[in-house]
Symmetry: D3
């Protein structure tokens, strides 16, 4: 089948060899949700957090995490990211995170977008857990990617 590119012919984990691929513009968008009570969500935007610190902290954590992706995911390539944008917004049952990442490189940035969204969700969890321990992170996935040999893709 040969479909798991992170394994070599002997089934050994490896970083995929992209040395023969041309660098091209690539982009990926990922999203994730933190499900919480209405009360906790209000708190995240409430007077107590009058400077929007909960939201701002999570967005920054997402941006910084995208830059650490190759350090966190064992077989990811280190990439020179040209844009990272992370936004936290209210959603039906809690908060939604959207992360968009761009590069010009030999491989794509889906994992960077997912890592940014994931760490923004975890940071929201950390900052709100004093109010609600039972929150759940849900629906973390790639929404779309563009560029590269495999072309565009939308969830």
């Amino acid at each position: 089948m040969g479909r798991l590119s992170h394994l070599d012919a002997e089934g050994r984990a490896r970083m995929v060899d992209v040395s023969d691929k041309a660098a091209s513009a690539r982009e990926a968008v990922a999203e994730g949700f933190v499900r919480m009570s209405k009360e906790t969500r209000v708190l995240a935007f409430s007077g107590q957090a009058k400077k929007g610190e909960v939201i701002a902290t999570a967005e920054l954590a997402g941006v910084m995490a995208a830059k650490k992706t190759a350090d966190l995911i064992p077989l990811c390539h280190p990439l020179p990211l040209s844009s990272i944008h992370v936004a936290v917004e209210p959603a039906d049952h809690g908060l939604r995170v959207v992360a968009r990442v761009k590069t010009t490189a030999q491989t794509g940035v889906e994992m960077e977008a997912l890592t940014a969204a994931s760490l923004a969700c975890l940071t929201l969890f950390d900052m709100l857990k004093a109010a609600e321990k039972g929150m759940v992170i849900e629906g973390l996935r790639v929404l779309e990617k563009s560029g590269g040999r495999s072309g565009d893709w939308t969830a």
Copy 2:
């Protein structure tokens, strides 16, 4: 309300001051799921991955990520972890990750367990995405914690 301990009186983000708390034994367990097709799940355990590399790589990524928690979550305290155990196992609609972390410290390890589970899920995603781009990470949450002033808690 005073419920968001990560904000000071002026609504400014801060690391919670735990300098007056005694160090005590603490433990936390977190879980997460990667939802995927039956075909992809088979692939993760199949002959191609004959050395269990997909599973082993994700488990290691989880262990290593737990040690980076304070570097990833802006307001987390750096803690001396005494045990980290991450296990990936088959689940109904994909794979389940369970992460258990222990410390003797002035604050708990819920975020360390969540970070371990989260990065193990992301690593599974990375290693299987060549087979299925539409996987979704779900149900990432704390299952239980013990120790510390706030006592034991189970989801």
Copy 3:
């Protein structure tokens, strides 16, 4: 003279051996300034930055940098920090950063406080440099320290 504790008998750089010292509560406060035009300072707090993002980003960068001190200053000991608080406030000729760090450890946290203040200043510089390239970071110093064998000290 024996006054440079970071050099051994042969003049070789070393981490000071604190293995015989008892852990005790320690605290340090450092400050720093970013000198800028009145116009730039207004911008930092202005409507454009309506969520206080410039200030919030710098404060978080300071908190996160304190946790990286041992990774940045070659001969610093890795310490389990129990509290980090960084505040940016208006000053006569720009912005003032104050960083306060606590630990219970075998050595003090002056360098952690200075590193936090320093990186908060650098982050303010980064976020405001599009408006004014000629800003200057000034007056970065330890204001006070307490705890440890050498006792309390105030600038």
Copy 4:
């Protein structure tokens, strides 16, 4: 005004999108000073430090810090640096650090040069603080930059 490029239209912190800019040769020079007593400055170059360890350690810390800039300054781009040079030399009231950094990239290296100079200053502080706690880091600024769309600039 639109002058703070690190904020998006909603005032949210973001990494500036440089994906449409061409990579070009860029260079930046920064300086900083550690103000200290004449006695302490003598110590830094004295027989006790007979191998120049104080100076050498600070220079290396500066070089290594430049490579960590994107990890320290939340909205900095990760860049492939092609040259880093840090020199510590005697100055009127203490020691002067000069850091020069080069890259071929889509954005400039002012923050890398400033970070190198800043951490070299902090390391000098660390190594000399046993002799003088009241040292002050002063005059940390960009001296010149060249390359890129905004062209050359000198302080």
Copy 5:
């Protein structure tokens, strides 16, 4: 003589300036050995390690270490690696590690290959030291390099 390119005209350590060199395809292979008793070697592949975890963990540690080379070796350039492959195999008196690294960059990847091999050896040591404390890491060297101005080279 001018043969130590990491020292400037004043004998000061520096990162070599490669800003005038063109990026080109480069590759390096390094090897290392962990000498151990036959009994310990058997253990590494035995039923107890039925999932090949000792070997798999060491290979991953090597891959991840290659990505940290510039963070570990003070004067190394940060490089965008396009391929990393690490294999552990039985050898006459223990285990052999072979690491192969590729990049398209202004400088070579010998140090990345050596760092990968070195950390894979250290990880084998860590995982087997409960069985044998007296293991020795031997024969860590560059086997071959290709690309760049200095051309190909074989040990």
Copy 6:
């Protein structure tokens, strides 16, 4: 046999659980050699390196690497090191590195000492490779350890 403590009952890699062990004073010493021609060794100490920069850089790299051990070796515990000392000295066929590390912790520091010695060797290699590509790192091992339940040990 149960001799590989890094594998759980199912053969899965794990960080050893030390949560029930008492913290105690521990120390480890490791050594390593870089075998090189006499000519290269002379160069390392020669007039060109008049400030001892080759040696000083390698010693510092060793000290800094010891602090990164838990980040490099997947199953190592993060430990609060109380002393790190690395010395490079001439040896029969090149240079010898000796690294000594101390902690008060629930587990030992053999891997920290080995990592320090290993990275000091790699840094010597990096700084001298312009003169001699064929150097070999040899004899990297633990010389002695003390403290902890398993008691003292000497090679």
